[in-house]
Amino acid sequence: MKNKSKKQIGNEIISTDNITKSFGKFQALKGITSKIYEQEVVVVFGPSGSGKSTYIRTLNRLEPHDSGKIIVDGVEITDDVKNLQHVRSNVGMVFQQFNLFPHLSVLRNITLAPQKVKGLKRSDADEVAMNLLKRVGIPEQASKFPSQLSGGQQQRLAIARALAMQPKIMLFDEPTSALDPEMIKEVLEVMTELAESGMTMICVTHEMGFAREVADRFLFFDEGLIVEEGTPDHFFNNPQEDRTKLFLSQIL
């Protein structure tokens, strides 16, 4: 709360213009137009099947969109491989199921991409990785395998892995939904620290306590559309739409 007033919101870094996406007959996104600014923390929420996960997955083309225009860091996302590489190297992603590489050690999970994509030397990559592990609070686990960590530690490792590529934007796809309740806090703490450091973040989450404290802006999704957007205060004190009111009353 205390930092938020001081925080500078920067230039526009992501803009989506009327994007749509269908899976067979089901239309997951029905025209999403949004803008995300540098250093902004945006929380996306809404009922299941509302398209919120699909939305953030289109932002690094894990799901190709059907129509509309997505511009990330000045580059339009198309089939073009070069554009895609530019976008993906600037966008980190954290998944609900962690998606760690189970056959690689904790350290190697982090160093793999910097070494292979950025061409870092092994020793430099190791140093970067150790610093990140310290940052997320699990440096002593470096030589273990992911399966030997607790769920919360695994998700913190996943965050460190994404950060190792020094992304400008971080996407979080329900990062705490697969965790036991007592482990949620440790992950949210890391995310809060990240937000305070000025990272641009888009989080799909239903952790409203965290969202209220950290987010600059909320996007409420329902049935493939952004139904309402605004500041946390706006949502908690004065939501306008009936669907928003109904959903908030169910989860709070």
């Binding site: 056959h103 292979k116 395998f145």
Partner: protein, 387 residues
Amino acid sequence: MLDKKLKWIFNTFSGSVFNTVISTFCIVLLFFVINNLLGFISNSEWAVVTENRRLLLIGRMPQEEEWRAWSILWISSFLIFSSLKSFISPSKKELTFIFLIVMILCLIFTTESSIFKVIITLMISSFSYLLTKYISDTPIIHKFNKFLIFLWIFLVPLVFCLLLIADGPKPTLWGGFLLNIILASVAIGIGFPLGLLFALGRASSLPAIKIVCTVYIETIRGAPLVAWLLLAWFVLPKFLPEFWGLNDISVVVRAMIILSAFTSAYTAEVIRGGLQSIPKGQIEAADSLNLNVFTKTSIIILPQAIRVVIPALISTFIGVFKDTSLVFILALTDLLQVGRIIPEQDPEFFGKALEALSVVAFMFWIVSIALSNLSSRVEKSMGIGTR
């Protein structure tokens, strides 16, 4: 220790009545089997094996070329026994087992003329094992292990060199157990990497590649190996271009081509099963980290896919090894063929088929059991990072 054994006996015979009956029955059965086996071994005349030692092991290779086989044996025993400690680290039980098998082999195959060379082999084996045991705690071991891996990779080419240099015997004269081993190594050595590519091709999103790979796999798998070998015998030369005398290649090479193709098709399907077991999240994570296709495939997907299918893979390899005995169709005399022909054609050994064939079976069994043990070892050592 004694307590444990008593407990074991107690557990075997106590419990339900049914349990006791079954256990007693099994023990009686075991007793009869072992009794008959020992009777068979002591009452048979093993001359059929000892006299034809050379034929069984290296086929019709002339006597003056025998040194090639011996040097191959020495190199392989050095490799096998020096790898034991580093890569397998066998328990006492397993060491005893290996020792027993080596002793049985020596008993079967040593003759007066070769006793000196057999002793050299045994010395090389024990020396290599003791050497690796001695240096296993020193830093040299890492370099030594790298050297071993290097040697393993180049073993097959090395064997070919040894067989061919200095005007070696014609490949059609290769035979016996040596031929089985060579064919199986080539089939696996070429078939496995090819199979890997075909599996990736079949899983590819590019339609042309996918169709080619699918057609290849299904065609090769669709007909029996015997049919393919017969095709190699009659038809393959007509498909090959005439220059370099390619249309006149040796039947041994034809057998290698067919066996490799066969292995690659089966391996491809096994690996494809592994590829399908990779969760989609792994690929998404790799994509989100901007890994390129090569890194994604070689570091994320394949290691996980292959680990899942190691048991199936090794059993394919064991199958291939045993299938090499089908090359008798190409008029090659492999181990099984030798064991079959001698009691039929050599008047001295008429009717000794049982002795000859049981030794043949024993030889195949040794390699198969070694491979299957290797598979469980690899599985265990790769199990560290399982989810």
